[in-house]
Point group: C2
Chain length 425, copies 2
C-alpha cells in the first residue's frame, strides 16, 4: 500500500527538535512492504494540518499522523482533525479514569488539564488502551488514518504491534512485496563503491533498485527489489548478494541492523577474547559505543579515559620520558597506552587512541585530525597514523569507528590497508 | 519570509537514513526570522519531485531543496528540476575542471561519471565555487530556489554564508521579525512545567507563542515572539524571561545552544576545578559528553570505564570485600568508585556511576534501571540512588545526564531533590 507520514509540531518546523519518529515509521513500514511517498513535517497550525491531511487522504492508501496529541496547550491535533473531518470530540471517561488512577497522589490542578487526553474525534478507535497516551485509528473515506504519539519508542511499538497488522488485513488482492537489504561499508567513498558495483546496475529492471547513502563515517549500499513474485525476489537476492560481497570485500563490515560495535562484539564473543580501551581524544566514545550493545560485559573489560598526560602516566603507566620526548600525540605513546591498558586489565587486546580532535590544539607538524591508534596483543603491538578532516564531532566519530574497524580487521586477520579515504601517514 | 524545505532521497523515505539536514536548515532560518511552513521528505521519484516543487513555488516565498545532487546513478534532482521548470541542463566546464584537478591521481573510469556534477539547470548560479559539490540558486517566478548538497555541514555552511544573506536582500518593506529563545529543563516533566508557567500563557496575544518539547531526558520550553516592532519583542522578552526563570528555578539549567555538559564545563572552568569520572553502566558516555565540548581538557582529567568488577578493584582500588558484600551495584561501591577516581587522578571532584542498564542483568531487589551515582570531594562523599525506566539507551542517557546535573547542582550548591520524575530511593 502507498502511504504517507505527517509529523506535527512547531518544535520540528522551527528546527529545535529533530524529527526521528517519521524515519522510524518509514523504516518499519518499508520493511513490511509498503511504500512511503511523502513525509511531511508541519507546525501546530490548524490550516496547515487540515490542508496536509486532506491532500494525503486524496492521494494515499493510508496515513500516519504523529505528534500534537499531548495535554499541553500547544497540542491541537485531535481538535483540528475533528473539525477538518467533521468529527466533533467525544469524551472517553475510561481513558480519563485511568489517567486519574495513575496520578492518584497528584492534586486536582495537575490532573484536570489531562482531561484533554480523553477527548478524541468521533469514531476514534483506541489502539493502546493500556498506554499513557492514546494512539487511535480513524477510518475516513474508507482509508485508515493512524494517530500516534510522537514519543519514539511508544510510536515504534504501535507501528509494529497495531499499524502493520491492521494494514495487512486492509490489503486485499494483488500484493506488491518489497524486500530491502542494506550493506554497510567502512573505508571506501561513495564514488568508489559506485564504481565497484557499477556492473550490477547494468541490468535494466525497474524492480531492482540500488542506492548509495553516506552515513558518516560509513557508506551504506541498499538493494531493494519490488515484485509480486516472491520467487523472483529470492532469486535476485541470492544472485546479487554474492556479487556485492565480492565487489566490496573486507570493506563490507555488516548488514541491515549491524553496527561496527555490534560486529566487533560478535567476533570477540565468538573468539572468547576480552577487549580493553585507552582513550584520549575520543574521550570515552569507543567505550560508549561498545557498551551500547547489550551483553558487552562478556567481551569488554572497560578502560581508561586518559584525557590528561598525567592520567596517561598514572593510570596506564606510560613512561614520562616517552611523553616528554615524542609528545602525547605520537606513535610511541599510542603503543605504550595500548600495552598499558592490556597489562592493567589482563585483557587479550588493548586498543588505544591519542590525537587532536580540534578545533584548537593543532600544530604545523601535528594538525587537527592527527590521530594515532594502537593495538596491543600478546603477540605484538602495532599502531596506525591517520589525518582525519572535519569538525570535532566528525574527528571523534571517525576515530572511534576506525579504532573498532582496526580491531575487527585484526580479529579476522584481514589487511589494514585502507584506501585514500583515510589518509594513512 | 515564508519558506519550505524539500529533502530528496529514497534513503530518507525508506527510513534508512535520518533526515537531519532539514532540521538544521529550519533552525537556522527560523533564527534569522523566517517561517518554515512545511518540510517535505520525498523519494528520488521524478513525478514526486516535480509536484512537490511546483506546489512549493505557488505558496511559498522561498524554497530550499536538499539532496540528490551527487554523482551516483540514483541522484536526479538537477535533471528532474531542469525538466520541471523548463531549464535544460547546461554543462559547466569550470566545475568539471576543478573536479578533475582534485582527482589528478585517479583513472578515467573514476573521473568520467563525475561530469554529472557539472550539469546544472539553465540559469543556475553557483553558490560555492570552491566546494566539492555545487550548491546553486535558481530564480523562478521571481522566487529564489536554493539547491544544496545533503551533507549536513556543507549545507549548514551554505545556509549561513549564502542563503540567509541572499534572503535578507530579497526581502523589502514590512519585515516581520521572529525572536525565539529556548529554556532547557532537567528533572521536571512536561505537565509540571506547563503548570508552573501556565499563568504566562493567559496573555491572549497571537504574537507570543510558548511551547513545551520533551527532548529525552530533558524538556525544552520555547518562547517565540513575532512582530514587526523590535521594541515590542525586546519588551516581552525582558518581562517574561525573569518570570520563566522564577517559575522553573534550579531545574532550568541552560538556554538555546547550551547542553548539560557545556554548562557543567563552564562552571568547572569558572571555579578552576578538575573533574574525573568512574563509569560502570554508562560505559564512557559521561566522558564522551564532556569531551564533545572543545576545551574540556581544561577541567576534565579523564576517568576509568570500570565495566568489570575486576577493573573496579584494579583501577579504582574498590575494596574486594565491599564488592562481595554489597554487590557492584550499591551505594558503598558508588562511593568507593568516586573516592577511588579522585584519589588516582588528584581531581577536585570524583563522579561515579554504577547500575544496571538492561535489558538483562536485573534482579527482584535491583531491577533494570537501578543506578547509584557517587560524588566525592575533599569535604565529603555522597551518593544518590535512582530507579530509571526505559530501554538500554534511555537508561544510559538519563544516567549520564543525571550524573552531570548532580555535579552542576553540587558546584552551584543547589539542592539535589528532584521531583517524582526521577525516582529517588
Amino acid at each position: 500500500m502507498i502511504g504517507e507520514i505527517i509529523a506535527i509540531g512547531n518544535e520540528l518546523t522551527s528546527g529545535r527538535v529533530l524529527n526521528t519518529t517519521s524515519r522510524f515509521a518509514a523504516g518499519l513500514l518499508y520493511g513490511a512492504g509498503h511504500e512511503i511517498i511523502s513525509m511531511a513535517t508541519i507546525g501546530d497550525t490548524p490550516a496547515d494540518i487540515t490542508k496536509t491531511l486532506l491532500r494525503a487522504i486524496k492521494r494515499s492508501d493510508f496515513i500516519i499522523v504523529t505528534g500534537g496529541l499531548g495535554a499541553t496547550s500547544d497540542d491541537m491535533t485531535s481538535e483540528v482533525v475533528g473539525q477538518a473531518l467533521g468529527r466533533p470530540a467525544v469524551y472517553h471517561p475510561d481513558i480519563f479514569a485511568k489517567i486519574k488512577a495513575r496520578h492518584s497522589k497528584a492534586d486536582k490542578e495537575t490532573v484536570e488539564p489531562l482531561k484533554k487526553l480523553a477527548m478524541l474525534p468521533r469514531g476514534a478507535e483506541i489502539l493502546n488502551p493500556e498506554a499513557k497516551m492514546a494512539g487511535y485509528l480513524l477510518v475516513h473515506d474508507s482509508k485508515p488514518i493512524f494517530f500516534l504519539p510522537g514519543v519514539p519508542h511508544e510510536m515504534q511499538q504501535l507501528i509494529v504491534d497495531k499499524v502493520i497488522p491492521r494494514l495487512s488485513v486492509w490489503q486485499e488482492g494483488g500484493t506488491k512485496l518489497i524486500k530491502q537489504k542494506v550493506y554497510k561499508v567502512f573505508g571506501l567513498g561513495e564514488t568508489e563503491i559506485n564504481r565497484l558495483v557499477a556492473h550490477l546496475e547494468e541490468v535494466e529492471d525497474d524492480r531492482i533498485r540500488i542506492g548509495y547513502y553516506p552515513v558518516f563515517p560509513e557508506v551504506h549500499l541498499s538493494l531493494a527489489v519490488t515484485s509480486e513474485d516472491k520467487a523472483f525476489i529470492k532469486n535476485i537476492f541470492e544472485n546479487l548478494e554474492e556479487e556485492i560481497q565480492n565487489a566490496l570485500g573486507d570493506f563490507l563490515f555488516g548488514r541491515d541492523d549491524d553496527t561496527m560495535e555490534s560486529i566487533v562484539g560478535e567476533i570477540l564473543q565468538k573468539q572468547g577474547k576480552m577487549l580493553a580501551t585507552a582513550e584520549s581524544c575520543s574521550g570515552g566514545l569507543i567505550g560508549h559505543k561498545i557498551t551500547s550493545v547489550s551483553g558487552s560485559s562478556n567481551y569488554f573489560a572497560g578502560g581508561v579515559i586518559a584525557y590528561s598526560n598525567d592520567l596517561k602516566a598514572k593510570l596506564l603507566g606510560v613512561d614520562a620520558g616517552i611523553l616528554a620526548k615524542y609528545g602525547a600525540v605520537s606513535s610511541p605513546v599510542a603503543k605504550a597506552m595500548a600495552d598499558g591498558i592490556r597489562a592493567k586489565t589482563s585483557a587479550d587486546i588493548g586498543l588505544s587512541v591519542t590525537g587532536i580532535a580540534g578545533p584548537t590544539g593543532g600544530t604545523q607538524e601535528k594538525p587537527v585530525g592527527t590521530v594515532f591508534i594502537g593495538l596491543s596483543t600478546p603477540v605484538e603491538t602495532v599502531d596506525f597514523a591517520f589525518r582525519f578532516s572535519g569538525d570535532r564531532w566528525q574527528v571523534q566519530e571517525i576515530t572511534a569507528v576506525t579504532a573498532l574497524d582496526l580491531t575487527r580487521r585484526h580479529l579476522l586477520r584481514k589487511g589494514m590497508n585502507y584506501t585514500h579515504s583515510i589518509n594513512k601517514n
